[in-house]
């Protein structure tokens, strides 16, 4: 009996060792072959590649900001906040209404400072609305379930997501709303790069999104690593009971975490509106899932990891279909394939996760 178990364990160990290299070789050969055919056929000029990369970078930075919120909440509560994308959607709507109000009052395009003030106020309003919704979400839907098994808060989050989507649909209608950007940052103006003798547009909104997302990430990193609140957050993430014994207000810290992640989602929503232009009640769903994917990709619980995961995912989505000579319909397939591959070869994500061993 004992020997039978041993041999079986040994045999499976060998098979287990073979799976990963086999998958790796197959994928590498496939990618190199497709890449070679595409590059040899020269169907895309260098300007197209740069355009893809830029759009991927911007998309990725929006994903990254949403992913930061996911990663924070996951790091503390070990739950997938399924409604996070919808919090982002409501933030986008709040920013939209602010800009519409400024536009209706004739303030938006009066002069440069007024445009800047309008955009800043739109960001503040969007972030505050998302912040409040995020806190309310935690208070109503998640806090009573703190001690329940892990799947229970997930179902509650799914319920919250459905609820928020329908709230938006019923209040704002099913029509798609188009963001009113100030004239100075219209979506179709920006700097032009000359690549290979052709012009490539770098939209101001894209630059704004990218820079802002970097700033938010750095700010969050400092907040988590250097401030007293961040220290409390990390302590709660490590062990709630011990943190409570050390005099940390666990409920307060968790509420703070939700507030921060909500504010980030709101900022992402306004960025999405300013750069992509169109928002509707369902707009948060796909970015939400992508952002969670990005958070896992980078190593969940890890702040720089979420940022990196988001950027990688955005660029893969934008560049990979063309690079592998596939139709753009399949970009999501590629994005998820990257996730599966990364997790097969590095189960803790690119930068590794920051989780206490107990919960892992």
């Amino acid at each position: 009996m004992a020997t039978a178990v041993q041999t079986r364990a040994k045999r499976t160990f060998r098979i287990g060792r073979l799976i990963r290299p086999a998958i790796g070789v197959v994928v590498a050969v496939f990618v190199l072959w497709r890449l070679y055919t595409v590059l040899a056929s020269q169907s895309f000029g260098p300007d197209t590649w740069v355009r893809f990369a830029i759009s991927g970078l911007v998309l990725g930075s929006v994903y990254a900001v949403i992913a930061l919120g996911y990663t924070l909440i996951y790091g503390i509560l070990f739950m997938i906040n399924f409604a996070h994308g919808d919090v982002m959607m409501l933030g986008a709507f709040a920013g939209y209404f602010t800009l519409e109000a400024f536009n209706g009052a004739g303030f938006l395009n009066k002069n440069l400072p007024s445009a800047i003030i309008s955009v800043v106020v739109a960001f503040i309003v969007g972030m505050s609305v998302s912040l409040v919704i995020s806190i309310a979400l935690e208070r109503i839907a998640y806090r009573p379930l703190r001690t329940a098994p892990r799947l229970v808060p997930l179902i509650s989050a799914i319920g919250a997501s459905l609820f928020l989507e329908n709230v938006a649909q019923l209040t704002f209608g099913v029509a798609r709303h188009t963001y009113t950007n100030p004239e100075v940052i219209k979506r179709n103006i920006g700097w032009t790069l000359m690549v290979g003798g052709k012009e490539v547009l770098v939209a101001y909104t894209g630059v704004l999104t990218f820079v802002l997302s970097l700033l938010l990430m750095i700010g969050l990193y400092i907040l988590v690593q250097r401030t007293k609140m961040g220290k409390a957050m990390r302590a709660v993430a490590e062990d709630k009971d011990t943190a409570a014994l050390m005099g940390i207000d666990v409920d307060g810290v968790i509420a703070n975490t939700f507030a921060i992640s909500g504010a980030l989602a709101g900022a992402a929503g306004v960025m999405w509106g300013l750069h992509m232009g169109v928002i509707y009640h369902y707009v948060g769903f796909i970015p939400g899932i992508k952002a969670f994917t990005a958070a896992v990709l980078g190593g969940i619980g890890n702040v720089p990891g979420a940022m990196l995961g988001g950027l990688v995912l955005g660029i893969v989505e934008a560049v990979a279909p063309a690079a592998l000579g596939m139709p753009f319909q399949l970009k999501d397939v590629l994005a998820f394939s990257i996730l599966v591959l990364v997790l097969i070869f590095r189960p803790t994500g690119i930068l590794g996760e920051v989780l206490s061993g107990k919960k892992a």
Binding site: L162, G173, L343
Partner: protein
């Protein structure tokens, strides 16, 4: 301090009321109440809702007062009412002024029709309407305070949460039932009786109910499969729909005349579909089952989306029919008769459910089931006592996938159509919800969950557009009030109530378990 807390409650409930107006819930309440009492006006219902929430705000504010003397409760209620009234009055004034100025508010907030506003303003001028609103809401806050003083707090929440379990345990504790359960062949008699009832079921139902309950039945099979994966083995699978899609597409490709013209017999396709779906489960499982918990969830979610997008994409249009799907999928025939109507499908579905339940039950009570349970509770310990976890995980995945493939075959064949939009993420989520609502790891729970989840939207039909809103809210409420599910397995119930009993909380509702 009390004033601050009370005003916060007032603001909060005022905001909730404002949301109700923006969502159009006031109009809905008006229509429903008007319908019940055959009123010509929608105003009573709308105001009933608003006043109800305002009174609730007053009640909440009073609960915040630590030592309820007469004056303090009244002040708390008054403060809450004033804040509530201010919130609503200001917003109402703003909205009606904007409307009077000719702004197209409906472009942004679709529920704010002039008619909906008239429900609230009685056609008065903005200022007068706001003043009226303020006075009424302040009074409502006071009424709430008086209400608290008048009544003791009724523990409805406890009753609600213990209800279904109490009914079940009381029923099982009846002497007759107990006697019966201790008889030798009681199990077989129960199964036989249930089967007999099910056999006559489709005769009684009309075509519509056969179709609706057939859908419920398909979800029961799906739920039984996912129950193995999530409930028994503890693997969170968010891409379960992929196997469902594989089953559906296999039957479509092999029996439909359009893209390939293979047109095989339905009964031959059923085992092919089941085997191929199980194979897909194993193939997906080998690389991903080493991941744990939520990583597995997101990877399976990705897999589900990959299958859907691939079936939709241009690259595979020749094979899967692309976005248009595959039409005229073949139905089952029996000795030359065509038995593909909803009526006959009901029998096939019932047969499928019975088979699936039988397999699940036997797996659960076997060595395999115990291994799954050990794995779910603690993977490391399970491994340490000699359970080869990867193999059992693969088995769970394959069994779940096989059941999903089976229900996919039935689904596509019954609808005579399959297309990528049948297989969105929402299906996976629905199945997961029904497993958890029913009670994870419990077979009757899956049936209960499917009936509630697929039946509830039918019941909520009166709410029309507000159906999904109510559904989302009910999901949250359900998780808070009764996280163990409607019909939990005995083991899980014990686990969940262990903590409450340890902390010394009296567990009044449940008598000891007396079932077999």
């Amino acid at each position: 301090m009390n004033v601050r807390l009370a005003s916060r409650e007032g603001l909060l409930t005022g905001f909730i009321n404002l949301c109700c107006i923006l969502l159009g819930l006031t109009g809905l309440a008006g229509t429903m109440v008007g319908g019940w009492f055959h009123l010509s006006s929608r105003q009573p219902g709308a105001w009933l809702l608003l006043l109800g929430i305002a009174v609730w705000g007053g009640v909440r504010a009073v609960r915040r007062v630590p030592d309820p003397s007469r004056n303090k409760t009244l002040i708390a209620g008054l403060v809450a009412g004033v804040m509530h009234g201010l919130t609503l009055a200001v917003s109402l004034w703003l909205i009606s002024t904007l409307l009077d100025a000719g702004a197209e508010v409906r472009k942004w907030l679709v529920q704010l029709t002039p008619e909906a506003i008239r429900l609230l303003t009685f056609g008065l001028s903005p200022v007068a309407a706001a003043a009226l609103m303020f006075v009424v809401m302040t009074t409502a806050g006071l009424v709430g305070a008086l209400w608290v003083r008048a009544s003791e707090r009724y523990p409805w929440q406890r009753t609600l949460s213990k209800g279904p379990t109490t009914v079940r345990t009381r029923f099982l504790a009846l002497p007759a039932v107990q006697n019966f359960m201790q008889r030798k062949h009681s199990q077989q008699i129960l199964w036989g009786g249930g089967l007999l009832i099910l056999l006559f079921f489709p005769f009684v139902l009309g075509q519509y109910w056969n179709y609706t309950l057939g859908t419920v039945g398909i979800y029961v099979i799906l739920g039984l499969g996912l129950n193995i994966v999530v409930g028994f083995a503890g693997l969170l699978d968010l891409g379960y729909v992929a196997f469902f899609a594989i089953g559906a597409y296999i039957v479509a490709i092999l029996t439909a005349p359009a893209p390939h013209g293979i047109m095989m017999n339905f009964w031959l396709v059923v085992p092919i579909g089941i085997v191929l779906a199980a194979l897909a489960g194993v193939l997906l499982g080998i690389p991903v089952l080493r991941m744990r918990g939520d990583y597995l969830a997101i990877v399976t979610l990705g897999f589900g989306e990959i299958i859907r997008i691939l079936s939709k994409s241009d690259a595979l249009t020749d094979f899967t029919g692309g976005p248009r799907g595959i039409r005229s999928v073949g139905g089952p025939g029996l000795f030359g008769f065509d038995v593909s109507s909803e009526f006959y499908f009901m029998y096939i579905i019932i047969l499928g459910i019975v088979l699936a339940a039988y397999v699940t039950l036997h797996l659960q009570q076997s060595r395999v089931g115990r291994a799954w349970m050990a794995m779910r509770e603690d993977e490391d310990v399970a491994q340490a006592v000699g359970i080869y976890t990867l193999q059992y995980k693969l088995l769970a995945f394959a069994t779940g996938a096989a059941l999903a493939g089976f229900s996919g075959v039935i689904f596509a064949s019954r609808n005579k159509f399959t297309g990528p939009e049948d297989f969105t993420l929402l299906v996976s989520i629905n199945v997961l919800c029904l497993v958890i609502i029913g009670g994870m790891g419990s077979i009757p729970g899956v049936v209960a969950g499917a009936l509630v989840l697929k039946g509830l939207p039918e019941i909520l039909r009166q709410l029309a557009d507000y159906r999904m809103l109510a559904f989302g809210a009910l999901l949250i409420l359900m998780m808070i009030v009764r996280p163990e599910g409607l019909w939990p397995s005995t083991r899980r119930q014990m686990e969940l109530h262990e903590r409450a009993e340890q902390s010394g909380e009296p567990d009044a509702g449940s008598s000891p378990e007396t079932g077999p």
